[in-house]
């Protein structure tokens, strides 16, 4: 008698491995090389497949799903064009540390390298835009590789991982290998999560001794899980110190708290940026000194001692030298700092702290987000204030596209909890917000999910209206339509003599009719006093809605730190002229 035939094909093994990794949803698009996987999906009902209309959108949807749940987002695309279409999404996920598994089809192993039909060197192309990638050459390695890929994607600093799957590997048969019971002991990849306790003590000492402290907190705290945000709030309140969040960190600390200074950086608040500039101790937790934050490096917070807590050693001393570096997971580091703080009951210099807060309050009193109200036209800031008024007591999630509207959303919407705000920070991908919102809505079917969009960005993945129609995902697209690539126009106004080269949004579609054509609901608003009614109707409608809000075309986003300038060289409004932009700054982006 023959020994027992392994009964399972590679494709079936793959589906089983995904289920064992707690996957519930896959965002994908079929094609020849992945037909065996689609066949396996057809024969089961544990995994849900969401059919997008473009592979880039599949990755953004998985990002939205991942960022709003803390789970790994999963993508399935075919070989060649399917894989290359996913590249923008993968790069986006890499820059913003989002855990993604992207399964790509590949031509059969014996054809690799032959310029076969729909062949692309997917591992070659995606090597620089993934945390890691795999080409599975034998079905015997398939299940194990999938489990390892999930471990790599979610551990340490999260990121996207590609698994390239030749078609013969999907059709060959093998026994299943279950995921390792204990968290995988990878041979070479073992990120350090536990912080060095001596350094934690040093940090507490530095923090307690500060006279003008500021917490500078980023996306790493969100990556670390909701517990990190709880601990952060606890620790920050214990100290009584001011805190600012990066764009990626919004929601890590409650925006309504008195200690919160708002976002910092290029379009951050006056008070946050001046606090960063003038502080004597900076406590960076899970932020990466991005150039949108530091501005001119030589002038960045010149007088401060800097503490940096980060899980990725390559984030340390990359652009800014710090005085104390602590490698580890934000949750564990915060836990330890709270413990040490409680045990030591350090005496903070309350007099100095009071003076520091008094100074900060004078900055706050500048009310840097104030804008001239619009009369007959809707100011984009006003639209967002009204939007926030209507959603603040609902269970809501916000995504954005990229541009001025994104920055205004960061400034005018308030985030009280982590995982409620998804935006493309590092790559700045126009077209991110709508598919990301779909992914969020899949994960949170009853929540209110809104993509704050620009009229230019939304056209980059508008085809997904078909997806939301198919699954009746009640995603709301709130377009701040200024008829310009506003962020581009703003730079041209400030830096290029007002020569608006190619930044006018010509020949826009009628967004109301467009929504209608796709089976969604379209609304339009151009009068400030009608806006509340339109927003209410949008929220009330339990279907996908596109709202075309016609806003002031000339409005610019302030405050703004022009490229190459320092935190204390901020432009606060249209009357501040950009004489401050140096030649050096002109070459920066």
């Amino acid at each position: 008698m023959k020994p027992e035939e392994p009964a399972t094909t590679g494709a079936d093994l793959l589906v089983k491995a995904l289920i064992d990794e707690d996957v519930e949803v896959v965002f994908g698009y079929p094609g020849g090389a992945v037909l065996p996987i689609y066949d396996s999906l057809f024969k089961q009902n544990r995994l849900r497949h969401i059919l997008v209309r473009h592979e880039q959108a599949a990755v953004h949807a998985a990002e939205g799903y991942a960022r709003s749940t803390g789970k790994v987002g999963v993508v399935l695309v075919t070989s060649g064009p399917g894989a290359t279409n996913a590249v923008t999404g993968l790069t986006d996920a890499l820059m913003d540390s989002i855990p993604i598994i992207c399964l790509t089809g590949q031509v059969p192993t014996h054809l690799i390298g032959n310029d076969a039909f729909q062949e692309a060197d997917t591992t070659g192309i995606t090597r620089p835009c993934t945390k890691h990638n795999y080409l599975v050459k034998a079905v015997g390695n398939l299940a194990r590789t999938v489990h390892e890929a999930f471990y790599v994607a979610r551990s340490g600093r999260p990121g996207p991982v590609v698994i390239d799957l030749p078609k013969d590997v999907l059709m060959n048969k093998h026994d299943y290998v279950a995921p390792p019971k204990v968290a995988a002991e990878h041979k070479s990849y073992r990120p350090q999560t536990k912080p060095d306790l001596r350094k934690i003590e040093q940090a507490v000492e530095m923090i307690a001794g500060a006279k003008r402290p500021v917490f500078y907190v980023g996306g790493g705290v969100i990556n670390s899980g909701p517990k990190a945000s709880k601990l952060l709030a606890q620790f920050v309140r214990m100290t009584g110190y001011p805190i600012t969040n990066t764009l990626m960190g919004l929601g890590a600390f409650p925006a309504s708290d008195k200690q919160f200074l708002g976002m910092l950086g290029m379009h951050g608040t006056y008070e946050a940026n001046l606090a960063m500039h003038g502080c004597d101790v900076m406590i960076n937790i899970g932020a990466r000194f991005d150039d949108r934050i530091t501005g001119n490096l030589t002038k960045f917070s010149p007088g401060s001692k800097k503490i940096h807590i980060d899980i990725d050693p390559s984030s340390i001393n990359k652009s800014v030298r710090v005085d104390l570096a602590i490698i580890g997971d934000a949750t564990l580091a915060l836990e330890e700092m709270i413990k040490v703080w409680k045990a030591r009951q350090p005496k903070v210099d309350l007099k100095a702290l009071k003076a520091w807060w008094a100074e900060i309050e004078t900055w706050r009193a500048r009310n840097c987000l104030a804008y001239k109200t619009g009369g007959e036209t809707i100011k984009p800031q006003f639209a967002l204030e009204r939007l926030y008024h209507h959603i603040k007591n609902t269970d809501h999630y916000i995504t954005t596209e990229v541009g001025q509207h994104q920055m205004w959303a960061a400034q005018f919407l308030k985030f009280e909890q982590p995982n409620r705000w998804m935006t493309s920070g590092g790559l700045g991908t126009m077209g991110y917000g709508f598919p990301a919102a779909m992914g969020v809505q899949i994960a949170h079917p009853d929540a209110l999910v809104i993509d704050v969009a620009g009229e230019a960005s939304i056209l980059m993945n508008i085809q997904e209206l078909s997806t939301v129609a198919q699954y009746n995902l009640p995603v709301k697209i709130f377009i701040l339509n200024n008829h310009y690539m506003g962020m581009v126009r703003q730079w041209q106004e400030l830096l290029h003599g007002g020569r608006y080269s190619e930044s006018y949004s010509e020949s826009l579609p009628d967004f109301v009719k467009l929504a209608d054509a796709f089976g969604a609901v379209g609304l339009r608003c151009h009068e400030p006093d009608k806006l509340d009614g339109v927003i209410e109707e949008m929220i009330k409608t339990k279907r996908p809605v596109v709202v075309d809000v016609l806003v002031d075309e000339a409005e610019n986003c302030f405050p703004m730190i022009p490229s190459g300038a320092a935190h204390n060289e901020m432009l606060l409004g249209p009357d501040d002229k950009a004489g401050k932009v140096s030649e050096e700054g002109m070459v920066l982006v």
């Binding site: 790599v152 070479s188 390559s314």
Partner: protein, 170 residues
């Protein structure tokens, strides 16, 4: 704080899983991030564990060198990264094959020089030699330089392999 920092040369040993694409990952990291590669060698050194050792000589400011090491260490198949330049005394060696074509007095002089540099003749024809020379990069370069006038027609070099002094493994 950000005073112009001096450029230093560092020799870095990297122990990696010997798997397809690993060299592309390392080289891609250097080109993608604009780091320098002065020399790079790679070969399997532990067949049982399927490990390869990559030796890289690179140049940069102290901050860049620190980044290079952190970036290398973050690659999933990288087991260990060691900066031999900062970790104490170490030895560096390079091997070169040098083909010299010539007759008469030049040929005799080439042999004489080879002797001084303890280079071996590993191929000989009536009008040519191939020498094998080993040593520090400086010695190899000097040898090739001296041979230049005697009719060098071809040079092949391995790049640097390096190891710490003393009994400790990588």
């Amino acid at each position: 704080m950000n005073a112009p920092a001096e450029i230093q040369s560092h020799t870095i040993s990297v122990l990696v899983a010997n798997e397809p694409g690993i060299l592309a990952r390392v080289v891609g990291l250097f080109s993608g991030r604009g780091y320098n590669i002065e020399s790079l060698t790679v070969a399997e050194t532990d067949a049982k564990e399927s490990l390869s050792r990559i030796t890289i000589v690179t140049k940069g400011t102290p901050m860049i060198i620190e980044q290079i090491k952190a970036q290398l260490d973050r690659l999933v198949p990288v087991h260990r990264v060691r900066d031999l330049t900062v970790e104490g005394p170490h030895i560096e060696r390079e091997l070169a094959l040098v083909k010299v074509k010539g007759v008469g007095e030049k040929r005799v002089e080439a042999l004489r020089l080879a002797d001084v540099f303890r280079a071996k003749v590993i191929d000989a024809k009536t009008d040519s030699f191939v020498f094998e020379v080993t040593g520090t990069t400086g010695k190899v370069q000097t040898f090739i330089g001296l041979m230049e006038s005697l009719g060098v027609v071809d040079v092949g070099r391995t790049g640097i392999v390096a190891m710490s002094r003393g009994g400790e493994p990588l």
